[in-house]
Structure formats: structure tokens, C-alpha cells
């Protein structure tokens, strides 16, 4: 994936988030403070304004700008978290004009590590990590087995949706939903859901 393609993907992500804004906000209404969709739509709205100016940059720098913009404009936890994720992935792509599946896997791994560090969180706490970690593992497994990018990303999306389903079965121990404790069981995590939507867009473009 080169810069031109990457910018197109980010544009599509923005459109998707805007379309799902009400749904993501509603999920957050149930176990959080009802702003996840609004937060992300504000952030990706600002990202879109910058994309035209990034055409001559390498993919890593595009992602860094996306991350920094999310950090400064989202306003909720998903800002510093996704922001850190995009910036870490961007740093991992440094010097590459084109990113392939193994690069993406490395980028996703450092993004996950960055988010864990920033959020002081780990798998099984009912957060976006519960979609991200299984997705990364599934893409990697399928890629190693088949070298088929489409199949690998399809497996990743399926695993991410399973992760979203899994978040329904556990109580939150991080983020706003942790204030609800056991009462958060039965509801899916908004951040795990939005991550899965982002990955679906990427998967549709490989």
C-alpha cells in the first residue's frame, strides 16, 4: 500500500465513522459517557482536512499526522489511544514508500503495545485491545499459512468481531465502563467495535 492508497483508505475510514457515529455513541451511552462516535467523528473530520497536504509524504508520516491530529482533537480516551496507535504504526513504517502485510503486522503489533502502555491496560479488560489483539494474531496466522493478503485480513476481521462479542461477556476494568463494574456485562465495548470497523475498511482495500 502506497501513500495514495493509504490516503484513500483513511478517507473511507472517516466516511465510515461519520456513518456509524450515532451507533458508536449509542453503544457508549449504555456503558460509558455517550460520546465515542462523536469523539471519533470530530477527530477523523479534522484528519480529513489534512489529507490533501500529505500526498507527497511517505505512508509512515501520513499515519503520524493522523495520530497527532486524533490526539489533539478527539477529546476522549480514544484520542490518546488511537492517536498513539497511529503514531507508533507510522514510526514502524519509517523509510518505506510501500507497506506490505508483514510491515502492517509489525505496525499493528507496536500500535497494540503503545496502546497498552498509554492505557495501562491489557487483553480481557473490555477495551479496543480485545478486538485488536485477536485480529493481529489471526491475520498473522492466516498470512503465514497462505501468503494470501485478502484471506489474512478476512480472518482478522472475523477475529475482531469475535473479540467484540467476547467483550459482551466480561466486566470492564479499564475506561469509563469500569465504573459500572459487573453491570457492564452483556454490552459490547464501543472501542472494540470502532476498531473492527476500521479494520473492515482496510480489509476491503487489500
Amino acid at each position: 500500500m502506497n501513500t495514495e492508497k493509504l490516503i484513500a483508505v483513511i478517507q473511507k475510514i472517516g466516511t465510515k465513522i461519520e456513518a456509524e457515529k450515532a451507533f458508536l455513541t449509542e453503544l457508549d451511552n449504555v456503558i460509558g459517557d455517550g460520546d465515542h462516535g462523536i469523539n471519533l467523528a470530530r477527530g477523523f473530520g479534522e484528519v480529513e482536512k489534512k489529507l490533501d497536504g500529505l500526498k507527497d509524504k511517505e505512508p509512515g508520516d501520513v499515519l503520524k499526522t493522523v495520530g497527532m491530529t486524533l490526539v489533539s482533537t478527539v477529546g476522549g480516551a480514544s484520542g490518546p489511544l488511537y492517536g498513539t496507535g497511529f503514531m507508533k504504526m507510522g514510526a514502524a513504517f519509517k523509510g518505506k514508500a510501500d507497506v506490505a502485510v508483514p510491515d502492517f503486522l509489525e505496525g499493528l503489533q507496536v500500535a497494540i503495545e503503545g496502546i497498552m502502555q498509554r492505557g495501562r491496560s491489557t487483553k480481557g479488560e473490555k477495551t479496543m485491545l480485545d478486538a485488536m489483539i485477536p485480529a493481529k494474531e489471526a491475520i498473522e496466522a492466516k498470512w503465514n499459512e497462505s501468503q494470501d493478503a485478502k484471506a489474512a485480513f478476512a480472518a482478522g476481521v472475523a477475529a475482531a468481531w469475535e473479540g467484540v462479542e467476547f467483550t459482551k461477556t466480561i466486566a470492564a476494568t479499564k475506561g469509563r465502563a469500569s465504573y459500572l463494574g459487573e453491570r457492564s456485562i452483556g454490552h459490547q465495548d464501543p472501542g472494540a467495535t470502532s476498531f473492527t470497523m476500521l479494520l473492515e475498511i482496510v480489509a476491503g482495500e487489500v
Binding site: N39, V71, S72, V74, G75, G76, A77, P80
Partner: protein, 126 residues
């Protein structure tokens, strides 16, 4: 004097905590960074950065914050100002702000105020 920044999702809460602290320490440099630019709830990287600039001196700045993104965003502001002496304080915001402001006005240094704030976290009210 050590500068103090109060970070909250709510502009009202941050400003209220600043007022509360000023009742006991009129001259302590203390600034509020609450809510988003448009007045809605959330935490703003820019507001926090500006508040740090406003109260910064070589004595350093202490940031007190409420939960979630307030902690993460304050941390990112701190990381973006590597060359400055900035510390995040892990303590109740209202009580901590009063303690920090009194300490700052009395001329305590950053480390001394941090040690006082440790106590704030452990004190029980009843």
C-alpha cells in the same frame, strides 16, 4: 513557585477546583484546563499545553487530573515538553489542589509538594 494545572473533563469542575485552591493560596500559580475548546466535556491537549505554559517556571509544574483521557492526555502533553520539569500527581483532585497550592505559595519545591500529595491520597475523611 511551583505551577499547578488542574485537568478535568469538565470546565466548571477545573475552574471550581482552581477557585477552591485560591481561597487558601491567593498567589500560587494555578491554571484550569477543563473540557474541550467548544465547552463540551472532554480533555484537550491544547488547553492543557496552554495551561502549562501559563504557570511554567524553572520550579516546575504539577498536573492534577481526573480520570481516563485526562490522565492520558496530560501524560502526552508532558512527553511533548521533554525539556521541562513537569510531574503528574496521582491524588484526589480537590484536596490535592489545595495542598499543592498552599505548598507552592509557601515556597516548597516540587519534590516536597509531591511528598505532601502522597499523604493526601492516603488520608481518610471519616
Amino acid at each position: 513557585m511551583v505551577g499547578i494545572v488542574i485537568v478535568s473533563h469538565s470546565a466548571k469542575l477545573a475552574e471550581g477546583v482552581v477557585d477552591l485552591a485560591r481561597m487558601m493560596a491567593k498567589t500560587a500559580p494555578i491554571a484550569a484546563a477543563g473540557g474541550l475548546e467548544d465547552g463540551s466535556f472532554g480533555t484537550s491537549f491544547e488547553k492543557i499545553s496552554n495551561a502549562v505554559d501559563e504557570v511554567y517556571s524553572d520550579d516546575g509544574v504539577l498536573i492534577l487530573m481526573d480520570m481516563g483521557s485526562a490522565v492520558m492526555t496530560a501524560e502526552m502533553v508532558m512527553e511533548s515538553m521533554e525539556d521541562r520539569k513537569i510531574v503528574l500527581a496521582d491524588c484526589p483532585v480537590a484536596e490535592g489542589a489545595v495542598t499543592a497550592a498552599v505548598g507552592s505559595e509557601a515556597g516548597s519545591d516540587l519534590e516536597e509538594i509531591l511528598a505532601d500529595l502522597e499523604q493526601v491520597g492516603t488520608q481518610k475523611k471519616l
